[in-house]
């Protein structure tokens, strides 16, 4: 059983009240959450220090413009947070950040993590069209009923890890029919319990992972199978790979937005990866024809190889691909397979070593 704080306001307002409380009472020095910035309703993450600015935030707005893990890494790479801050983020972002911290790309110190049972986000293209607001009633209705809102990211529709494992505070959203009038904050950690001391609200005990949550998970698993089939990647043999990636334009934006791709200079950006002119002449002599730019499929294979153990299937890669390659499905399939092999769920536990940093002499006897 977990201690639960109930604030008698809608989930978004209750969460804003918590953030304001934390800032006003000096419990944190800053808050990172989504905020309405532009006149045209543009949304972005923002680091806020003034409690009055909480009013303009939209912590639960269903859009992931950037994966916050990557940004938190930037904030805490050179030094850990020197003052306490609270961060509102989605479960996949939190898991991705834990993975980055394992790779020494950031620090968890001094950060209070607030997350929610996540109903998913809308694709970036919907933000471009500017019609997310219209879909919000439909979105929240689906969340209350524990359903998948139509038109959400395919990666979200196939996501079974929508419960924030390591969050200090988790807002109950999925399948919670009371979210329009009450905010149920599950205080998962001592830090979470301690920090809300003095806030107005009712305390009780409860369980975040209920039977309803398990049912939602089963539904998502079924959806994942279905979507995976639709993406037609059953075999992922060389022919499928060549076919899928042949329209890649070589922009590497999938890597640029990926929280697991943390290299400061990607190998494929380096001088080492560039071929001599003589190489092209040799290849041309041999094959009679070359596709340019070269090495695009090689790039994707290497990227999959590098990130699949830590991929949290956030779907950011697919959303930014100018060629509409179903990268979310490919990453999900690869990630699932690799992670299952090592019995590893990225970001679930900061203490759990990355599989490639541990060596078990008797593992994989079958293929050695």
């Amino acid at each position: 059983m977990t201690k639960v704080l109930n604030i008698g306001k809608s989930a978004e307002d209750g969460l804003k009240e918590l953030l304001k409380f934390l800032l006003e009472n000096g419990k944190v020095k800053g808050v990172v959450t989504l905020r309405k910035t532009g006149e045209d309703g543009a949304i972005s993450y923002s680091l806020i220090t003034n409690p009055d600015d909480i009013e303009s935030t939209a912590p639960l707005f269903p859009l992931m413009l950037v994966n916050l893990a990557k940004q938190l890494s930037r904030l805490t790479l050179i030094e850990a947070a020197t003052e306490p801050i609270a961060v509102v983020l989605r479960p996949c972002e939190l898991r991705a950040f834990v993975e980055l911290v394992k790779r020494t790309q950031g620090s968890l110190d001094n950060i209070l993590f607030i997350s929610s049972t996540c109903g998913g986000v809308y694709p970036l293209e919907m933000a471009v069209k500017g019609n997310i607001e219209e879909h919000l009633p439909e979105y929240w209705k689906a969340v209350e009923q524990g359903e998948l809102a139509p038109n959400t990211r395919l990666a979200c529709q196939a996501c079974e890890y929508f419960v924030p494992y390591t969050a200090d505070v988790a807002v109950s959203l999925l399948g919670n029919e009371g979210i329009d009038k009450e905010t149920m904050l599950f205080l998962n950690t001592e830090k979470g319990e301690g920090i809300v001391e003095g806030i107005k609200g009712k305390f009780a005990e409860g369980e975040l992972a209920t039977v309803a949550i398990e049912q939602i998970r089963s539904k998502r698993k079924a959806e994942k199978e279905k979507l995976s089939d639709q993406a037609e990647l059953q075999n992922l043999g060389i022919d499928e790979i060549a076919k899928t990636f042949s329209r890649c334009i070589g922009c590497r934006n999938c890597s640029a937005v990926c929280p697991a791709c943390y290299c400061h200079v990607c190998f494929f950006q380096t001088e080492t990866s560039q071929h001599e002119r003589a190489y092209y002449e040799r290849e041309l002599e041999k094959k009679g024809c070359m596709t340019m730019l070269s090495d695009t499929i090689f790039y994707h294979l290497v990227r999959l190889f590098h990130v699949s153990i830590s991929c949290t299937a956030c779907g950011q890669c697919a959303d930014v691909c100018p060629a509409n390659i179903p990268l979310w499905a490919i990453s999900l399939k690869m990630g699932d397979a690799v992670q299952r092999t090592f019995d590893y769920l990225p970001g679930k536990d900061i203490e759990e070593g990355l599989p490639l940093t541990t060596f078990v002499p008797e593992e994989f006897a079958g293929i050695v």
Binding site: T37, S46, N253
Partner: protein, 383 residues
Amino acid sequence: MTNTRKGASLPAEGSVQKGIIDFVKQALKQGVFDAVLIPSRVPAGDSFAYFLVRDEAFLKGASPLPPIMPVQGARVISSITRRGKGKTGIAAIMRPCEARATIELAKLAQVDLEYVTIITVDCPGVIPLSDYFEGAGKGDKLFEDASQNWNSGPMRPVCRICDKFSASGGQDIHIGTLGTKSGSILLIPNSSKGEEILNRLGMSAEEDISGWEARVNKLIDERRKERKQNNDAVRADIEGIDKLVQAFSTCINCHNCMRVCPICYCRQCHFDSDNMKFGFEDYLMRAEGRGGLTIPTDTLLFHIGRMLHMSLSCVSCGMCEDACPMAIPVAQIFTLVGDRNQEEFDYVPGRTVDEPLPLTTFEEDEFQEVEQSYAAVSARQEN
């Protein structure tokens, strides 16, 4: 541009594209080109890529004027020629903006033009990548219909205002197609190398091309007007710091505009480097100082920095806008700024390879109107 006002007319049975492929085949066969770089349909059929072809059997999927520009050709030439010397002569069939970007990259030592022949084709524009990939096969027809009538409606916004769609510089041979009588293309030599190639192929450039030239010039005039209108409209949208911030407010800082830009050639962009990573204290201070810090940070600084670095060489190809996941009109903004900057230096990027980059030359008496004289500065200091 040379003063040659003559060209060779070549029969093009069926289509302009077929005519160009036949020309390329003949040149390969006769050993005038060792290899050809030509846009082609990928085997999966759903996109196009540059193929570097030595064996003419691989010209089967060739499509000299594909409906989209998935990769800017200048980047392809750069990746092939940047390192080491070669001996294979490559003829590149490109769109005019790709040729001009290639020339700019040659000036920046990112392209070696030795053994490279540039052949451009009158360009009706390309349709945006998003329209093509979302259109599930409809893109080919859309482009075909539009390009046949030189209808720029479905094309990239910067293609619609392009006034350098024809022989605009950098090429050895230009292929004229605008309004040529059906079943023929015009091969117009634009350098001594180009003339020599046509001679070796036994094609005499004797035909009068003034009709084609008149049609091209007429369209250039129309496009210039449209370009001015569009530039004015963009200026109204972005002028002043508030509007500029607004224009880039949805930027997710992915830097894809930079990565697909043919001119952004730095191996590592300053904005991706450690110089742009700061300590936590710094971010917190900025947040406190200005009522919240938008994350990702420094997005506008990136765009202004990029603009400063490449706008003199910007050929308005539109790759940046096509690759932007947030549909920010990057290419139109950069076209406005590029036009202004280039005009100040009377510089047309890619016009000729001999024309030096403006920032590599210094003229003592230029821009005196924006300078302050030593006397004025010291007088102010004394006061």
